[in-house]
Point group: C2
């Protein structure tokens, strides 16, 4: 989970894959984000070394003692650009964590100059004391970054229902102030990890018609992952921090971020669970001097780069979903966008489909059942199902196909499902992880 | 699952509990239905020996060769009462199985005299051939029961997407015709089992003001369990066959059944998955001569008995959910019935809550998160959580409580959750099973 309940991960916990949690991350350990079949970089975009920050940004991560393991758990990112703008999106949960409440009420979300974040404690379900602690953390961020408090966003992830240790924050902030540097991107990425097995971060060089800019992001995921998908709602998922040295108006930043989130973080599910702490921030420092105006050819290419960056990270979060083995992508096409969406999510969140994916079983009956549940018309509907390009069912009935070839096709790390429901013109895609023993082990056995 | 995809359970499959599937059921193996904390028999009602049928009913079960294991897989129940009436409810799935389609279009649902049912094959996603086979099965039922086809209901459960072997049905029907007897209730209960570890059946003697009647039922469940709960929709869940020798008008039968289903089968979830085959039938043969009129004191007591019968069976189905260890009951109270319902289901279907239940972890943070997701107001809401009578959170914040005592309290076989959301006057209760390794083993590992 992104937000681990009290004491659920003991200090000596080793995840099922036998890779220790909180082990020092290296870029080499993270699977490539843009080499999979579902996400590639657009033209004019090249990947930079992981951790690279755009000009005008500093970052860092320290061990403040919030995680019992003593690993990195407290970090900040600061933009030094004079004309920094920003955009942000948050969970729609009715149990929003204190940092989310503070961001909504005490931060100028169009002018975030710094974000301060911790892992190991979600500061959720902590009431007024929790809000005070989030203010305190915001103050520490203002001190670390040297900017006004209203320009400092706050984010937390970890245990729910336990108060933050503000002394640890104070002490950590002093160290953090000294640690901030242009090369601190990987430290920050490590400082926001919880049950993640590897850091999620990428940096891109984007050649726009008006000039080259840099775009970077650090994210964390692993569990309690299923963003709400009402397109107009001010929401987001997981923790993700995005930096660029492009010059954006706050309105353009909001538009670009909204569009990119809608086709990335809003399209993934690990366990169907909306977190209390989901937050996404985009900070544009402007230090490249390259202005990206809304509706311009620059904006079009920038959007494509941002889309690829967030989709790559979103898929990485699914791939690193708690206990995940295989991952799947389901696309439902039909005549009604809402019904396509509902059907795709019903399939992606079905424990029967997810266990079949885990078992390498091309089980189309469970997909038919989930689609039938989502549509709920009480009448037989013509549903077509294709798995890895093999048409397994048409009009609600099994087709003839080569079972051995299909079994082989679904034994790889990624499985593609296409479902056709009545009508045309609409579609919805969801990326999802499987459900296997490791998920149960992580969430049932390693708890107090 | 109630409806097992092709070849998913190999003939030599042994479930994790090391009790063989399809083993000959005995009443002694089934946990008591009415001795738990959540379901007891009302006054004037006593339990009869399992398998007892009301006067005027015959039942039977045979091995027709549909299940590879050679166990009982084909059965029928017949009412010989001249004035037999009935009521029925079916899944709202858009992929309804052929028998459900045949029941809806070719059966006089207010005058069902016989039901014929098989396990081992759901006859779902089988198209026109499947419908023909369901007609064929209906015809076999008419022959077995000696009544007109339109008075014969059909039900199937098992593999999805495989055509029924009609020769096996023919051969089975001949045997079945000879096997029908007043003592055949347990054989029928066995013939409808799939991944059930024990048969679900009960018989009650109900002393009404106008005289004593008998009420009996046979059900099956185990997986793919989550009825849709639109109160007015003609739907139901799982397979359940209910018989009585009370004299009911068809309208009264429908009212009694609708009310009882709404507070039993509509209130349980194993894996949140609506089946393609869910069907519930109530057949009233009238042979006791005791007439139960709508709105009468007789009807009131009869309703209570029927409610207890179906709730007992519904809880038994959750208890025998695929791989289930512990079971939970969550009651959400607040001001809005729909929101209470949505919140209760979000908690009951959350894999995080279900794994915590499995692990014996009183993890209130996951309950808070699920409630926050269901409400999705993007604002903090005052949510109170009580687990096993211990108030663990109030107004969205953790309370002080004795953690050791609570840990002990949730280590039993049943865990009670109470959640208070804003407002009052409305409530919703859902019974649910946990999520453990056995669910994954059954659904991921034992598949082709």
């Amino acid at each position: 989970m992104s937000d681990i309940p009290p004491d659920s991960i003991p200090p000596d916990f080793t995840p099922p894959s036998s890779r220790p949690l909180d082990s020092a991350p290296t870029a080499a350990e993270a699977p490539p984000l843009f080499e999979g079949r579902w996400c590639s970089l657009p033209e004019c975009v090249t990947e930079l070394e992981a951790g690279t920050l755009p000009t005008g940004f500093k970052a860092g991560g320290v061990a403040a003692g919030i995680k019992p393991s003593g690993k990195l758990d407290f970090g900040a990112i600061v933009s030094t650009g004079a004309e920094t703008t920003s955009a942000a999106r948050f969970t729609v949960s009715s149990a929003p964590a204190a940092p989310v409440q503070v961001c909504r009420t005490r931060v100028d979300l169009s002018a975030i100059r710094a974000v301060i974040a911790n892992s190991g404690n979600a500061n959720a379900a902590t009431g007024p004391v929790g809000r005070d602690n989030a203010f305190y953390m915001q103050g520490a961020g203002a001190m670390v970054a040297g900017v006004a408090e209203k320009n400092v966003a706050v984010a937390s992830t970890g245990v729910i229902g336990v108060q933050l240790d503000t002394r640890a924050l104070s002490k950590g902030a002093s160290t953090l102030a000294r640690e901030l540097r242009a090369e601190g991107g990987m430290d920050f990425a490590a400082a926001i990890m919880t049950t993640d097995l590897w850091p999620k971060t990428a940096s891109l060089r984007v050649v726009l018609p008006s000039g080259a800019v840099t775009l970077s992001a650090q994210a964390k995921g692993a569990g309690m992952i299923a963003p709400l998908h009402a397109p107009a709602a001010p929401h987001a998922t997981l923790l993700c921090f995005i930096e660029t040295d492009a010059k954006l108006s706050a309105a353009t930043a909001a538009d670009l971020l909204g569009a990119a989130v809608a086709q990335s973080f809003d399209r993934v599910t690990v366990d169907g669970q909306l977190s209390t702490n989901d937050s996404v921030f985009l900070i544009a420092g402007g230090e490249s001097g390259v202005e990206v105006e809304s509706g311009s050819p620059d904006a079009e290419i920038f959007q494509k780069a941002l889309d690829a960056l967030l989709l790559g990270l979103a898929i990485a979060i699914v791939r690193d979903g708690e206990g995940a083995g295989r991952i799947g992508r389901v696309t439902v096409t039909g005549g009604d966008t809402q019904l396509c969406e509902k059907t795709a999510r019903a399939i992606a969140d079905s424990p029967l489909v997810k266990t079949a994916l885990n078992g390498g079983d091309p089980n189309w009956g469970r997909i038919m059942q989930a689609a039938g549940m989502a549509m709920a018309t009480a009448q037989p509907e013509p549903i077509d199902i294709t798995i890895e390009g093999v048409s397994v069912a048409g009009g609600g009935i099994q087709n003839r196909f080569d079972q051995d070839a299909l079994n082989q096709a679904v034994s790889g790390p990624e499985v593609e499902y296409e479902v056709k429901i009545p009508g045309q013109g609409a579609s919805a895609t969801v990326y999802f992880s499987d459900l296997g023993h490791d998920y149960v082990t992580l969430n049932a056995e390693y708890t107090t």
